[in-house]
């Protein structure tokens, strides 16, 4: 359900820089409370590691797009590349209102990002481990 949260133009621009320009490995978005708008929080260089990405997911909710590359177990192995949308919503001491504002704003952001293949909703670190992403991408 789209509650009409605003999405800054930057969000789409940087997404396209990732998707088409291959400039980044990931883009992390956050909700700017004052402006009630989703904005870019972090961009990860193309050669960033997954661990670097996860280090940005702390006690506050975030949205992210990660360009994940994996190899299948086939012989010979196939290369799979997928754009994964990650909704990070930790069950920490985040105020419920903030958690909910993120949950409600998700659709507004997803609508603007064309080409997402998979989506993960993660509420604790184990749900956003690399093994989880790999599983989703290879399925």
């Amino acid at each position: 359900m789209n509650v009409g949260t605003n999405v800054s133009d930057d969000c789409v621009t940087e997404f396209n820089n990732l998707k088409l320009g291959k400039q980044y490995r990931y883009v992390i978005y956050k909700l700017d409370k004052d402006k009630n708008e989703i904005v870019v929080d972090h961009k990860g260089e193309r050669d960033s590691t997954y661990a670097e990405f996860v280090s940005h997911l702390q006690n506050e909710s975030r949205y992210a797009v990660y360009d994940y590359h994996a190899q299948t177990d086939d012989v010979p192995p196939r290369q799979v590349e997928k754009l994964v949308f990650i909704f990070w919503s930790p069950d920490t001491n985040q105020p419920v209102k903030q958690k909910m504002a993120y949950a409600a704003g998700k659709e507004a952001l997803k609508k603007k990002l064309n080409g997402l293949s998979k989506e993960i909703q993660a509420n604790e670190p184990s749900e956003v481990e690399e093994t989880e992403i790999k599983k989703i991408v290879l399925n």
């Binding site: 909710s61 419920v96 507004a108």
Partner: protein, 345 residues
């Protein structure tokens, strides 16, 4: 709260309880029974100590009594209905009933703006999620729903006529005294809440009655009563099967997400040991690739009020303010059709 934040009224009018309050609050300021006396009195004092009949406002839906309840609600909240938008949780069985209520709200109660959204979606939001498998154990019925990105998937929604109230029955025998039916049920409900448990602890549980006497019940007896929610009979499959049916009828993409985001709401979810039992029972039956995970609310109180809280937060978001259906929109554009268009479900 900012001084320029607009306050609205949020109401969850259930079959047994009505909860209403303001956006931004985490507790409904007015909580009452969805019942009234023949003389339109509300509240447990009037209902419990009167001699006349106690009238149900829902079950079946009574528009005149419902209108009175709405007006009483604004009075009890201490505000003029003309000045406050209303977010009403949608638990209506038919479009017709909702249509009638919207008409009453705009034309008789005269609210300026309206919005409605399914109970299940509000319970999901109040747990900070937008996708979840909701088990709402109400008073007279239990509803299991899949919510995906804020939309309640009505096609797979299942409702059963078993709820918390049926668990009162075995405790009625302990209610002695000259009380009317309503009061007797309230007392039986109190005893139930004091005794019922799924936990295999002491073999005897005791409860002190208002008159100083004690009720002693065996653990086995209590388990048998509590298990009514899980046991199947002619017209009920058991809550675990209601959830399983939804899981199995859902598309593969969201199956796993639903399994890992199971939310139980409604007072009966607070019975000691219930959540553990639900987790174990469901895990044993879930399809292999689905890991069952129950999502908890920050406090047990939330289970009574999850719908209200979800509404309170949703309607306080500045991004939500553009979604209200205004009175003039309603009047100018074919009335109910605008509700269907602007309120997803």
């Amino acid at each position: 709260m900012n001084s320029d934040e607009i306050i609205s009224v949020v109401a969850d009018i259930g079959n047994l309880y009505t909860r209403a309050g303001f956006t931004g609050d985490d507790f409904p300021r007015w909580s009452t029974f969805t019942k009234c006396t023949e003389t339109m009195q509300f509240g447990d004092e009037a209902l419990g100590y009167g001699n006349g009949q106690v009238l149900d406002i829902l079950q079946p839906f009574n528009p005149d009594l419902y209108e009175n309840l709405l007006k009483k609600m604004f009075e009890k909240l201490g505000v003029q209905s003309k000045d406050y938008s209303l977010l009403l949780a949608n638990n209506f069985q038919t479009k017709h009933d909702l249509q009638k209520v919207v008409e009453i709200l705009f034309e008789s109660v005269e609210i300026p703006n309206f919005f409605t959204i399914r109970n299940a979606a509000l319970s999901t939001f109040s747990a900070g999620r937008s996708t979840a498998l909701i088990l709402d154990i109400g008073a007279y019925s239990t509803t299991a729903s899949a919510v995906h990105d804020g939309y309640t998937l009505l096609k797979t929604q299942i409702q059963a006529p078993i709820g918390g109230e049926i668990l009162n029955e075995p405790f009625r025998q302990y209610v002695v005294g000259e009380y009317n039916q309503f009061k007797k049920t309230c007392l039986a409900r109190d005893i139930k809440q004091g005794l019922l448990t799924y936990e295999q602890i002491d073999s005897t549980q005791q409860y002190e009655l208002p008159d100083g006497n004690f009720i002693l019940m065996q653990q086995a007896q209590l388990s048998e009563i509590a298990d009514k929610l899980f046991n199947s009979n002619d017209n009920f499959k058991g809550i675990q099967h209601m959830l399983l049916d939804i899981i199995n009828n859902s598309v593969n993409d969201i199956k796993q997400q639903l399994c890992s985001t199971v939310i139980s709401t409604g007072g009966s979810s607070n019975i000691p040991g219930f959540l553990n039992k639900l987790q174990t029972t469901l895990s044993a039956l879930a399809p292999p690739m689905c890991k069952v995970k129950l999502v908890m609310y920050p406090s047990n109180q939330n289970r009574y009020h999850s719908v209200f809280i979800g509404g309170s937060i949703l309607a306080s978001l500045s991004s939500f303010q553009s979604l209200w259906v205004a009175k003039n929109e309603y009047q100018e554009s074919g009335r109910f059709s605008i509700i269907e268009r602007k309120c997803p479900n």
